[in-house]
């Protein structure tokens, strides 16, 4: 008997995500999103997803909202800081009631993930008492702690079908390592039933074993996707593509105001026409990609 490789191609990974699932996206704000998969979901117009953009998300979530994939959204923030104070499609969908928002802050979302990962029904937190959160998010229950009778907020666990993360490298057995910060990726991996990780490079098992302390988790599915986080950053390799994010934010904003031309152009060029991740990178262009060197 032989040990099995967990490397699959892009289409096979995308086939694992179906309408109505709950997915958790890795990275943090503008770093390390598995954009090859996320663009694929947007391109397939997957419907009815519950999306956890952990712990604070960026425009990768906005893209899924804009393409009509999202029914329910769980994130402490949707924006791109200097490039976009708020995700335009997220803002419009929230204002029109098109999506449900599970209102939270980063620590409440982390508590939900911790409870799920630990297999307990809830975790207690202090933050949120006296705020609008328990009124806006009916899942959060105020209660008295059974020992000291102090007021607390119970944050429930939530089953998650798939975690989708992006990392620097993995071996063919799914051992994933990061050069920089893994943020909450290990946590969502443990909370989810299964994990799909896109990586910049596949490395040998020997390379992984050189520093086992660097292994963040063992993913069930690995897809090789160089520059897989573009237009977001990947620590140790490339920074955010600020111009691309601005282009997205402008097109999306104009679309929410009724002028769809720039957005239709963006969608056609970057989401719908490229048949795979490498075709997307061809659209971005070698010159742009190599301009994103980190230091």
């Amino acid at each position: 008997m032989e040990r099995k490789s967990v490397i699959v191609d892009e289409a096979a990974a995308l086939d694992k995500i179906q309408d109505g699932m709950t997915i958790a996206l890795g990275g943090f704000i503008t770093a390390q999103h598995a954009m090859g998969i996320i663009r694929g979901l947007a391109g397939r117009r997957i419907k009815g997803l519950t999306v956890i953009g952990s712990l604070s998300a960026s425009l990768e979530v906005d893209l899924l909202v804009g393409c009509g994939c999202v029914r329910r959204l769980i994130s402490a923030y949707v924006g791109a800081e200097a490039a976009a104070p708020i995700g335009p499609f997220f803002k419009k969908a929230a204002e029109s009631g098109q999506i449900d928002i599970w209102e939270c802050d980063e620590i409440i979302i982390a508590a939900m993930l911790h409870a799920t990962a630990a297999g307990v029904p809830f975790f207690p937190v202090r933050g949120g008492l006296g705020t609008a959160l328990p009124e806006l998010n009916k899942d959060l229950k105020e209660f008295r702690d059974p020992i000291h009778n102090e007021p607390l907020l119970a944050v429930p666990a939530m089953p998650i079908h798939v975690a989708i993360t992006h990392a620097n490298c993995a071996d063919r057995y799914g051992n994933v390592q990061y050069t920089g910060n893994a943020f909450a990726d290990g946590l969502i991996h443990r909370a989810a039933d299964t994990t799909i990780t896109t990586v910049e490079r596949i490395v040998s098992p020997e390379e992984i074993r050189r520093d086992p302390f660097k292994t963040a988790y063992n993913a069930q599915t690995i897809v090789r996707m160089p520059y897989g986080s573009h237009p977001y950053s990947c620590h140790g390799l490339y920074v955010e593509d600020h111009d691309h994010l601005t282009q997205y934010a402008t097109a999306a904003y104009m679309s929410t105001k009724g002028d769809h031309s720039a957005w239709d152009e963006y969608l056609k060029r970057f989401i719908d026409t490229p048949e795979d991740h490498l075709a997307y990178l061809e659209q971005v262009g070698v010159r742009t990609l190599f301009s994103l060197n980190e230091f």
Binding site: D105, H114, A132, V239
Partner: protein, 259 residues
């Protein structure tokens, strides 16, 4: 005395209220507190723990710090002593000494709103970006500051439409204690016009000091709630030459605060 911008004044004022040895984090896209923390670190806080992006850094031998566009920027790694990613662990928040909060609304009791402004039928007429980490940090950090880059009646309201970070609620005495929140709540709110503190009995904002050249009438006109202005109100102490020199040469060489 050197000329200075109001943002520089705000940063210098905030820096002076930080104590050596404290633990303070520097966000991205929130340039005034960022400058305040770094300025304090350079001028009187060599033992401060400075959170910069996802790292804890010590800058004692660093001549100049770059401005970060994005919180997750990896480049502070070069000065890092440890990697730090707080929300993951649920840990240590209650040991955080100081924190800075902003909002799309700030109310008379120091509550802030990053969620949105309610419209008709339970919907939002204006949706905000989300609470980030403010809900919990405002509850547990030892103290925090509200920092407003503008001072308008739309920003400073009597009551937030939705509270994302609790200041003093509706002013009920001892409310934070009743909720068992370990943090002391907002200490000051600084704006381009003035510094507010909180009345010890009513917990309402009142003017603590007016920035040089600002009149009480201007604060009243630009504040959406009824604001107390003590008869003898101080003037906010302007930046010193030393502060401005460190600020401009080491903290903000790109001049983000100068405009």
């Amino acid at each position: 005395m050197t000329d200075y911008s109001v943002k520089e004044l705000m940063a210098c004022w905030l820096a002076r209220d930080l104590v050596d040895g404290e633990f303070a984090a520097v966000g991205a896209n929130f340039p005034i507190p960022r400058a305040a923390v770094l300025l304090a670190h350079f001028t009187h806080g060599p033992n401060m723990t400075v959170g910069m992006g996802a790292f804890k850094v010590c800058l004692d031998n660093v001549d100049q710090v770059m401005t970060l566009k994005y919180f997750t920027d990896f480049r502070p790694m070069r000065w890092a002593e440890s990697a730090s990613y707080f929300p993951l662990d649920l840990f240590g928040f209650h040991k955080m000494d100081v924190f800075y909060v902003s909002g799309i609304q700030i109310d008379a009791y120091g509550n802030t709103n990053l969620i949105g402004i309610a419209g008709e039928g339970g919907q939002y007429k204006f949706r905000g970006p989300g609470s980030i980490g403010t809900t919990t940090l405002a509850a547990v950090a030892r103290r925090y500051y509200i920092v407003a880059e503008h001072h308008t009646p739309r920003l400073f309201v009597e009551k937030c439409s939705k509270i994302s970070a609790l200041g003093f609620g509706d002013g009920t005495p001892g409310l934070r204690k009743k909720l068992c929140l370990p943090g002391g709540g907002p200490k000051y709110c600084i704006t381009p016009l003035c510094v507010f503190d909180f009345h010890p009995e009513t917990s309402r904002m009142r003017v603590h000091s007016l920035h040089p050249g600002v009149s009480p009438e201007q604060v009243v006109a630009d504040t959406g709630f009824e604001v107390e202005i003590p008869a003898k109100v101080m003037e906010t102490k302007p930046p010193t030459d030393v502060e401005l020199s460190v600020l401009r040469n080491r903290v903000d060489p790109e001049g983000a605060l100068r405009t």
